[in-house]
Amino acid sequence: MTRFIAKRLGLGLITLWLLSVLVFFGTQVLPGDVARRILGPFASPSAVTALNKQLGTDKSVFVQYLNWITGLFHGDLGTSVATRTSVSSIVFPALWHSAKLAILAFIIVVPLGILGGVLAALYEGRFRDRLISVGGLSATTVPEFVWSVVFILVFALWLGILPSTATAPPGSGFLTQIEYLVLPALCLVFVLFGYIARMARAGTIESLEADYTRTAVIKGLPYRTVVRRHVLRNSLLPTIAVVATQAGYLIGGLVAIELVFNYQGIGQVLYRAAIQKDFPVLQSAVLIVGVVYLVATLLADLAYSLLNPRIRFESSS
């Protein structure tokens, strides 16, 4: 087990390093001089040179990359060229915001999706199954920004029961914050429900048809016990693994929703940094999203192997 984790961590570090190279040199390919972009077309060449020198952007890209990486190891993410504040002070609060939204969405969609999928499987081919499967799939195919607009129209403008932005006023209590987050979380639920339900349904159907389920029924166990003890245990394994990988998307990939709801999450930070060519912020934010993805998949794999004795014992023996 420890060997497995060590191997995964090692691979993760290599992936992160590749990502850092990619994002750093990728942004360098974009045309334009950094100081010129900041100071505008009318600034004097000497001011541009001075600023470049101050930012370190006059040095070769390799030196710049090395400086950036060295800074990262010292916990210094650099300084935003747009706001002149430290990157950490921009990126980490945004990450926390994103996490709050993701957690709320997760808490709603995971039990709902699993329940829906299991129900669909138990009533395979019948009306309930069709409703859940087709409904879930349809909801997934509609992009999240369409759902956001629809929900704002219905709940904020028409019914007026929920706020249209996601950012609660400063100093709001826990419940108020949740109130503000309900609509964007709901969009995510709609997008993810079909996906999770489909996985849960497929796993449950496979497990229901398995020989060991037949054994359990013929033992004389009540149907509920068969499902709870023998079916779900095996059927939800793949689902749990898939669900956990979604955590990365939920935290790092919500650009559209955060924009529509004007929410200061990491997606919004990424978007703005890209527009403003604020490379230090962009690079660090991408790297942090990468870390989140990696940790999420690692946790997913760990959860899967803990739940699945076949994998657990192979790696330990």
Binding site: A210, D211, A216, V217, I218, L307, N308, R310
Partner: protein, 683 residues
């Protein structure tokens, strides 16, 4: 729980299971198709009843019906099912559940799949007790007791394990423990030993026999293996196309089969040491009718060599042959005169060539797994002459398939191994071999489903093989392809079909044709008939013999069915833990004196004659090849164990009689003397 003596009640006199005119149908593509067409049978208390028939005859449906467990598209159309005199069809769900808890249990074909992969063995067994008593007090303790009853040596440690950590035979013991846990009055066994090794099969069958007496349980035993049937059952029924065509005491039915289908089934299996040069195996012509097909008055008429007009017009009644022995055939009294469908055996001439086609010397194969070296094959040596069959037997894990793959060039042997074709060393992998060498050495796999590309038509599969092996194209290839199909008796009209559209037997014919595309000198047959019904198996074995007579091809024939191996082989090699334990002429290997391992293997096989020598128990399971025992690798389980010499010194493969080799410290004379009496069980 066996301590409480059963009180005699009225119910006690009722049969354990009674099926009356049972009709079951499956709904397939909107149409109800009959699976059971009026089955009536009765299993008395304490009786063991066997049900035979080819796959698709409705055996399993009948078994699951007795538990009222039918697939979602299945339904009982009419008739009744009584367990202990209680009508199953009028019960509600919870009564059915109660019945499954207390009265009827089942043991399945694939034990490892029948156990839940993510629940510990102990919990799965204890669950049954918890269910029966309503609480879980002491259910762990009782589960442990039950596991020791099924002769699991260390129940406490087995209880903590998961199914994938145990062997198939061990898992089957666990399933049997669960089935017998609540002392049911009826135990249904659906092919419980199919897929297990001969030695394990023997042990599981012995176990079922012992427990059956202890628990006084009635058995419904489903098998396609007539030998197993003869060993286990008192009475048997023969099912064909959902109808019981013959029924009677096992000995009577075997002695005097009175339905042409039973006669055909019995003639299909190689029995009593019959060999390919003495007798062809009989086959049953035609195919089993489709589910729900319209059948003539006698369901077997279309495939019967005795059928006359009356068979198609008038349903035969259940004629009484003798006491308790009935046959549903108009001509039951002359069923045994059923004409044979196959002719005399082909003449298998001795080859003039003395030098072997294939020669293997010092063949080694080591796998490396997580730092351990696993010696899958150790110093294997044999020669194969033109037109000869060498049978290869041994338990799973003995290295049979490794040897097959290595000869074919699918995995390279260790440095220093010698494999020669016509005296020329073969390259270790197939990609480095000459085309002529590749075409000379071909293989037929066990499962034609996975060996044939399912997206290609048969025409394309065989065409590609011809092009690859012979370089033929165009009209020349077409001509050769037709000849090839003809030679394996494959209907050329089906040449455009894809594998999925063909039956198992036809698919295996295609696989054989593919191997024969380049006129091979040697064909390795890796369990080619294990997945097939006996009648199809007979046809395939006949085909192999015919091809051998015509083309002087040599076979390396791997099978766990010793009857089949004996039928086909001229010589037999016995493998154990990657070592050749015995090698000799087929008849000598099966007669005393023989290597103690072969002796145990052969004694484990139930024969259709029912006359069985005492089975020799092998202690424990086959050891791991990662850490083989010292000295003679068989010493840990050997029933003829001598003493320390076996532990310390590995015996050489010595020639004990001309052409007969074995690896044992005993001499031929010593073993001949010893084997007059069965060995005492080792402690």
């Amino acid at each position: 729980m066996s301590a409480t003596a059963p009180e005699p009640t009225a119910v006690q006199t009722a049969p354990a299971l009674e099926l009356r005119d049972l009709e079951v149908a499956y709904r397939v593509r909107g149409v109800w198709r009959e699976v059971l067409r009026g089955v009536t049978l009765s299993i008395a208390r304490n009786e063991a009843y066997g049900l035979v028939g080819e796959s698709g005859c409705g055996k399993s449906t009948a078994a699951f019906a007795a538990l009222r467990y039918l697939p979602r598209n299945g339904r009982v159309m009419s008739g009744s099912i009584l367990v202990d005199g209680e009508d199953l069809l009028s019960m509600n769900e919870s009564q059915v559940r109660q019945l499954r808890v207390s009265k009827v249990s089942m043991v399945y074909q694939n034990p490892t799949a029948a156990l839940n992969p993510s629940i510990r063995i102990g919990d799965q067994v204890a669950e049954v007790y918890a269910l029966a008593d309503g609480g879980s007090d002491g259910s762990d303790e009782r589960a442990r007791e039950m596991l020791s009853k099924v002769q699991i040596a260390d129940p406490a440690s087995v209880m903590r394990r998961y199914p994938h950590q145990l062997s198939g035979g061990m898992n089957q013991r666990v399933v049997i423990a669960m089935a017998l846990a609540t002392n049911p009055s009826l135990l249904i066994l659906d092919e419980p030993t199919t897929g297990l090794d001969a030695t394990v099969e023997g042990e599981v069958l012995d176990l079922i026999k012992t427990l059956r007496e202890e628990f006084e349980t009635s058995l419904l035993f489903i098998t396609h293996n007539l030998g197993v049937m003869a060993k286990m059952c008192e009475r048997m029924g023969v099912l064909y196309a959902g109808r019981l065509v013959e029924e009677g005491p096992v000995a009577d039915v075997f002695d005097r089969p009175s339905h042409p289908y039973t006669v055909g089934l019995l003639r299909c299996i190689p029995r009593g040491g019959v060999r390919k040069d003495k007798e062809t195996l009989d086959t049953i012509p035609g195919f089993l009718p489709q589910l729900g097909a319209d059948l003539p008055a006698c369901v077997f008429a279309d495939r019967c060599g005795l059928a006359e007009d009356i068979c198609r017009q008038q349903e035969p009644p259940f004629h009484r042959v003798s006491e308790g022995h009935c046959s549903r055939c108009h001509f039951y009294d002359r069923a045994h005169t059923l004409p044979r469908t196959t002719g005399a055996p082909p003449v298998l001439g001795e080859s003039a060539r003395q030098e072997p086609v294939l020669q293997a010397r010092g063949v080694q194969k080591t796998f490396h797994q997580e730092g351990h070296a696993i010696h899958a094959l150790n110093d294997v040596e044999f020669a194969l002459k033109e037109g000869e069959t060498l049978g290869l037997v041994g338990e799973s894990g003995s290295g049979k398939t490794t040897l097959a793959r290595l000869l074919i060039g699918l995995s390279p042997p260790d440095e220093g191994s010698v494999v020669e074709l016509d005296g020329a060393q073969l390259a270790p992998t197939v990609s480095k071999r000459e085309r002529d060498q590749v075409r000379a050495l071909q293989i037929v796999f066990q499962n034609p489903d996975s060996a044939l590309n399912r997206r290609f038509s048969i025409h394309r599969i065989l065409g590609r093989a011809l092009t690859m092996l012979t370089g033929q194209r165009g009209e020349e290839r077409e001509e050769h392809l037709r000849q090839l199909a003809h030679s394996v008796r494959f209907d050329v009209r089906l040449i455009g079909a894809r594998p999925a559209q063909l039956s198992g037997g036809l698919k295996q014919r295609v696989a054989i044709a593919r191997a024969f595309a380049g006129d091979p000198r040697i064909v390795v047959c890796d369990e080619p008939t294990s997945a097939l019904d006996v009648s199809v198996q007979a046809a395939i074995l006949n085909l192999l013999v015919e091809l051998q007579a015509k083309q002087k091809v040599a076979y390396l024939f791997i099978s766990h069915d010793l009857g089949v191996v004996r039928y086909l082989s001229d010589r037999i090699a016995v493998l154990y833990l990657g070592r050749l334990m015995e090698l000799g002429p087929a008849d000598q290997v099966f007669e005393s004196p023989q290597h103690p391992y072969t002796e145990a293997l052969a004694s484990a096989v139930p024969t259709a004659e029912g006359t069985e020598r005492e089975r020799i128990r092998l202690v424990g399971e086959i050891p791991s090849a990662a850490s083989p025992p010292s000295g003679c690798v068989f010493h840990t389980r050997c029933p003829r164990y001598i003493g320390d010499v076996c532990k310390t010194e590995e015996p050489e493969l010595k020639e004990v009689e001309p052409g007969h080799f074995w690896r044992c410290h005993y001499s031929a004379e010593q073993l001949r003397e010893l084997q007059k009496t069965p060995p005492k069980p080792r402690v």
